[in-house]
């Protein structure tokens, strides 16, 4: 048990904090649906954070994986009649495959070219979804996406129709992803990623195949993002074209950075902030993205570590006062 509590253990570090937040979210928020939305986007932000915070790779094409996950899982359920688990697995595999393909073409380039390539490829996905309107519904979106019961070996185990039941299901998946992501980061693979972020040529000189590591991280990130996309489609029973638009990629990056890169807990914070801001402000003023624009600028100018960085330095300042 003691080993489990250490920072590298299963419940160590920030995992307990995440567990507490996951339990509190539906209690504090007015609806379980809103809580589910936050957790789903936190998953997408976490996948982006894995790339940006640890690998130093800014992907502006995460919307491609998110959208592909929602479209493909929904299509498999609607036309293939597959169940929940199969649909999610399809999304994960599709996300990984697409990310591998995009990664192969983008990771050769570094820095700003990488950002531009990922953005351009996500636009490819957008126009593909727009063009294949027979399948995707084009501008109208894909309607009547089911949310099947959680079933194993043909037996329906848990019905997820209720908002709270679905929240618990999504929260458990998030917890699994979070713990998995922590394991990845604490593994030698994670340390190598950080080494690449800090100094790619040095990591390469030491003998690491840096492209191989970056590809793996990209594939992993694509798979998790697609899973989030699939869960989102089931949440709102609908796949809007917006799911694969540039604004989606933009939002995922914004959540990641607002929350703070390099801390997985920050992703939950960032997703919560953006989703709640949208929820509250959009009912008051439809032009709320203007506020978001101002906020982004202020964060870069004044709070470069993101919200989590701000919290950390605040805690640091308070504890230092205690010592003195």
């Amino acid at each position: 048990m003691k080993r489990l509590m250490t920072s590298k253990g299963l419940f160590g570090g920030t995992t307990l904090a995440v567990l507490a937040i996951l339990v509190l979210l539906p209690l504090v928020l007015p609806s379980a649906t809103l809580a589910t939305e936050i957790v789903i986007f936190a998953m997408a932000a976490l996948a982006c954070n894995l790339l940006l915070g640890y690998g130093g790779l800014l992907s502006f094409g995460q919307g491609l994986f998110f959208g592909a996950g929602s479209y493909l899982s929904a299509l498999a359920m609607i036309h293939g009649g597959v169940g929940l688990v199969t649909a999610l697995v399809i999304a994960i595999v599709a996300g990984a495959v697409i990310a591998t393909f995009v990664g192969m073409l983008s990771i050769r380039r570094t820095g700003i070219y990488f950002v531009m390539l990922t953005l351009a490829f996500s636009q490819t996905g957008y126009f593909l979804a727009y063009t294949l309107s027979k399948w995707t519904g084009g501008d109208n979106g894909l309607l009547d996406v089911p949310r099947p019961a959680f079933a194993l070996f043909g037996f329906d185990l848990v019905d997820l129709k209720g908002a709270h039941a679905y929240y618990v299901f999504v929260a458990l998946i998030f917890l699994g992803v979070y713990v998995g992501a922590r394991r990845v980061i604490d593994s030698p693979f994670g340390s190598t990623l950080v080494a690449i972020r800090e100094n790619e040529s040095r990591a390469s000189a030491v003998g690491f195949d840096t492209r191989h590591f970056k590809m793996l991280a990209f594939t992993l990130s694509g798979a998790v993002t697609a899973l989030a996309g699939a869960l989102y489609g089931m949440l709102i029973n609908y796949v809007p074209l917006d799911n694969i638009a540039m604004a989606m990629s933009e939002n995922i990056v914004i959540m990641t950075v607002i929350g703070g890169t390099g801390s997985l807990l920050g992703s939950l914070l960032g997703a919560g902030t953006l989703v709640l801001m949208g929820e509250i402000l959009s009912s008051i003023w439809p032009r709320w993205p203007l506020v978001l624009g101002v906020l982004l600028i202020l964060i870069v100018v004044f709070l470069r570590g993101g919200l989590w960085g701000g919290v950390e330095s605040l805690i640091g300042r308070m504890t230092r006062k205690d010592e003195a």
Binding site: I112, M116, E250, V253, L290
Partner: protein
């Protein structure tokens, strides 16, 4: 049939020149300032709306053509002085976030001022109708667009290659520090270059206004296309932006006759093909 293709090729040239003007601005800014402007598409959109607004107020397209880019450039100049200048020293991620913020502000401001529904912009009287070349008829405005942007492109080339300002921009792209040490006020040069690059996007916006109108949410799509051009042609390259822009314009225009729904898709297909064959773009160096 042949005429149809000629028609589409000319359309593609016009479209390509618009893409060139957008991308060359992006490229000049990146070359000198090592700064990525994600608000470039939004400034293009403001150019479109200025074309609409100035036509409404003055009724003079020529005035819009001169004033529009100047206003967009002045906006950029102000933004550079107040904000952009403070973040040059930060990594690219922060450049992107700040300019995404600027793009959101511009986009929402456009909705507040002009409404969420797009505006169509009339073709100026003097350029209405068609030009007859034997049996072949081509719209006057589109022909004007090709010729005018070619002239602008040539003037820009002269500016960059034959003037002191251009020499400083090119030297600064190689080594900002050295130019600064040799006694040039590098910040003034940065402001001017940023204003010039963004002003070119504004000019492209004004020019494309009478063809595709103005919509508040057109920024991201335009930014995506500019990135494709730059990825194909290579960042910081004038000729790369020209060839990339024309290539993409022609692909899009020719595909419109073959597969209208997929025309936009094919832009990105063309990019993937180029990247597959030449990972560093057509003119890029490893």
């Amino acid at each position: 049939m042949l005429n149809l293709y000629l028609f589409q090729i000319l359309n593609g040239l016009g479209l390509g020149m618009i893409y060139f003007l957008i991308s060359v601005g992006l490229t000049i800014i990146f070359g000198l300032l090592n700064f990525v402007n994600f608000a470039h598409g939004a400034f293009f959109m403001i150019g479109c709306y200025l074309c609409y607004a100035l036509l409404q107020v003055t009724g003079q397209f020529w005035l819009a053509l001169v004033l529009g880019p100047l206003i967009v450039g002045a906006l950029a100049w102000g933004a550079e002085k107040v904000l952009i200048r403070r973040i040059y020293h930060l990594p690219h991620t922060f450049h992107i976030l700040v300019t995404v913020g600027v793009a959101l502000i511009l986009q929402e401001t456009a909705v507040i001022v002009w409404g969420p529904v797009g505006k169509s912009i009339p073709i100026p009287d003097a350029l209405q109708g068609v030009v007859l070349m034997g049996k072949f008829a081509y719209p006057k405005y589109r022909l004007f667009l090709i010729l005018f942007s070619a002239v602008i492109g040539f003037l820009l080339w002269l500016l960059l290659e034959r003037t002191r300002f251009g020499a400083l921009v090119r030297a600064g792209s190689e080594s900002t520090e050295m130019v600064s040490l040799l006694g040039t006020n590098i910040y003034k040069l940065f402001s001017l270059t940023f204003a010039l690059g963004v002003g070119l996007a504004g000019l492209a916006g004004v020019l494309s206004g009478p063809i595709r109108g103005a919509q508040p949410f057109m920024g991201p799509e335009v930014l995506g296309i500019a990135f494709v051009v730059v990825v194909i042609g290579g960042m910081g390259s004038f000729s790369g932006a020209l060839v990339g822009g024309l290539l993409i314009g022609l692909v899009q225009s020719l595909m419109t006759t073959i597969w209208p729904e997929g025309a936009s898709l094919m832009i990105y297909g063309a990019m993937a093909a180029v990247i597959l064959l030449r990972p560093y773009g057509l003119f890029g160096r490893a």
